[in-house]
Amino acid sequence: MSEYILEVNNLQKKFPIKGGILGREIGAVNAVNDVSFKIKRGETLGLVGESGCGKTTLGRSLLRLIEPTGGEIIFNGQNIRDFSSNEMREMRRKMQIIFQDPYASLNPRMTVGGILSEPMDIHKLFPGKEERRNRLYQLLDQVQLPKDALNKYPHEFSGGQRQRVCIARALAVEPDFIVCDEPVSALDVSVQAQVVNLLMDLQKELGLTYLFIAHDLKVVEYISNRVAVMYLGNVVEVAESSELYGGARHPYTKALFSAIPKPNPNIHMDRILLEGDIPSPMNPPSGCHFHPRCWNATDKCREVYPENTRESATHDYKCHNPINL
């Protein structure tokens, strides 16, 4: 078995834009544009970026919940883009996803027991009655919910508890890899820390691999071994999370870190204030997509899209004028 559980090569997702009276394709949104990365077994890769940068589309394309339009997804050595939908369903036993909104992703008419059983029914796991019940109790125990939760409905739980149910549902089929799509963004601060701890404990206990998507850099940096920064459909920088805070080479990464309000009134940082908004992915700027907001931009940036630069074995970035350390 290779060291990498997942290898993504040049993944692309274009959404067509239809228009005119004939409904012909008049353009495309490049939501994910030539993204490549690898995830090691047992590690957490963080994925950050602002809204609309394509992080959720990327997360869903990995499970082919959204069909990618190009590239390869190699999971456990097999290119799952060639799989039929039946094979893919089988494969999703090993790859699961946790969604952002624990209010919208649980069926309000099903009990927690039903919700947790469904994935096991689909994959014909733990079929015996006794076996199934023990498994359900085990799942609840893993996410620290009481046993009597089985007969309750989602509305009887708080946001943090619902997210625990979502986590238990993902764990039910014993996956190797979980895409966590903003799992803590909708939660209150004190509950957020509980869920982050739970995810980290489960990873240790079950040897899981995570792709952790969030816009909150603080959380991502905390939970991840490595972090990938996305901007307008491209990964612009990947590095070890400890390296990224002090050693960001891409100006966008630097600006993102600098924009986070620090919960410490004693230090006053000089903030890099980015001008303007994220450009539309329908009509991205020429050259480097970040150049209209970049303070280091030169003519070259306006014309040529930067190639990947390898800083070290664990640190890549795409920039013509990286920040000097």
């Binding site: 590690e43 957490t44 602002e50 809204s51 708080s158 943090g160 508890q161 209150d188 601060v189 004190s190 509950v191 957020q192 820390a193 509980q194 982050v196 701890n197 980290m200 404990d201 816009h215 850099l217 603080k218 959380v219 940096e221 905390y222 939970i223 991840s224 071994n225 490595r226 070890e240 999370s241 400890s242 390296e243 805070y245 600006a255 993102l256 870190f257 600098s258 924009a259 986070i260 309000p261 620090k262 919960p263 410490n264 009134p265 004693n266 903030r271 204030l273 980015l274 908004d277 994220i278």
Partner: protein, 330 residues
């Protein structure tokens, strides 16, 4: 000492529900000074938005009801002002920015129309020409590029950050004394959040208004506020200036909140220790425990907290520093 423009005293707000009466705000007191920012922090359901809405007299009644306390704006109790006269204050002297810039703008009117409406209500002697000039001026003030053309656009044509700028332009149109910002940046990305906070800061320096910043983000508090009140279950549990609050939190809840934020200075990537958390969750307002509301989640809880002595009172430990706890941290 800056001029005191708003004084809220012992505010109590109740809501009638099918399951009985709840007290969403329970004896909240604070003051707002000219040119200063007061932060109100708390988790969802702690009563921070209800507090803001009662200052604006926007609590829907029924089911809501301001059951006690006073809100003095420049010496006048706004709770005594008849609702039709309240309009001369609301939006004019005290203005508010809401969390969702998407839902708080009217989608069928241009942003220009919506800003002009403020002038129509509060400065009726302006003519059409002057109103539209002032609307453009406001958009320029909040840093919207090419305001002359933006003024004719509809909210859906603007990005989230731009819409929030329009909301700020509307709220500042009459140069209010007090600006209540209810989670103004929660729906925005960090880079846009930084722009908006910077803008509010700049406008505060220029116009000298007092700001009430309602947020759950302690980072925003640390960067923008002069004084902070921490709310839990409808009560203020700790109140002081921002430096004291972060350097020496006295209430275990405040300390827990501060500790549970991951920080960047923590070493080694990946294999980190667990985050410090506050165990359990906020109790339902229907089932508040006897004694201290925070007892079930508190690390330093004792028998005293569980009820026999009633609930802890908000005590002034030092001038301007208040804490509601039997065993404050030192």
């Amino acid at each position: 000492m800056a001029e005191k423009i708003l004084e809220v005293k012992d505010l109590v707000v109740e809501f009638k529900t099918d399951r009985g009466k709840i007290t969403a705000v329970n004896g909240v007191s604070f003051e707002v000074f000219k040119g200063k920012t007061l932060g109100i922090v708390g988790e969802s359901g702690s009563g921070k938005s209800v507090t803001a809405l009662s200052i604006m007299r926007l609590i829907p009644s029924p089911p809501g009801n301001v059951a006690g306390g006073t809100i003095h704006y420049r010496g006048k109790n706004v709770l005594d002002i008849p609702l039709d006269q309240m309009r001369t204050i609301r939006g004019n002297k005290i203005a508010m920015i809401f969390q969702e810039p998407m839902t708080s703008l009217n989608p069928v009117f241009t942003v220009g129309n919506q800003i002009e409406e403020v002038f129509e209500l509060h400065q009726p002697d302006l003519n059409n020409q002057q109103r539209s000039e002032k609307a453009i001026e406001m958009l320029k003030l909040v840093g919207i590029p090419s305001p002359e053309s933006r003024v004719n656009e509809y909210p859906h044509q603007l990005s989230g950050g731009m819409r929030q700028r329009v909301m700020i332009a509307m709220s500042l149109a009459c140069e209010p004394d007090i600006l209540i910002a209810d989670e103004p940046t929660t729906a925005l990305d960090v880079t846009i959040q930084a722009q908006i906070l910077e803008l509010m800061n700049k406008l505060q320096v220029e116009m000298g208004m007092g700001i009430i910043m309602i947020t759950h983000d302690l980072g925003v508090v640390a960067e923008t506020c002069d004084d902070v009140a921490v709310m839990y279950c409808g009560q203020i549990v700790e109140q002081s200036d921002v430096k004291t609050l972060f350097n020496n939190p006295k209430h275990p809840y405040t300390k827990g909140l501060i500790d549970s934020i991951p920080s960047f200075d923590s070493t080694a990537g990946g294999a980190r220790g667990r985050l410090p958390t506050i165990e359990g969750m906020v109790p339902s307002l229907f089932e508040l425990p006897q004694g201290c509301n925070f007892q079930n989640r508190c690390k330093s809880v004792t028998e005293k907290c569980r009820g026999p002595h009633g609930e802890p009172k908000l005590v002034e430990t030092k001038a301007g520093e208040f804490v509601r706890c039997f065993h404050p941290l030192t």
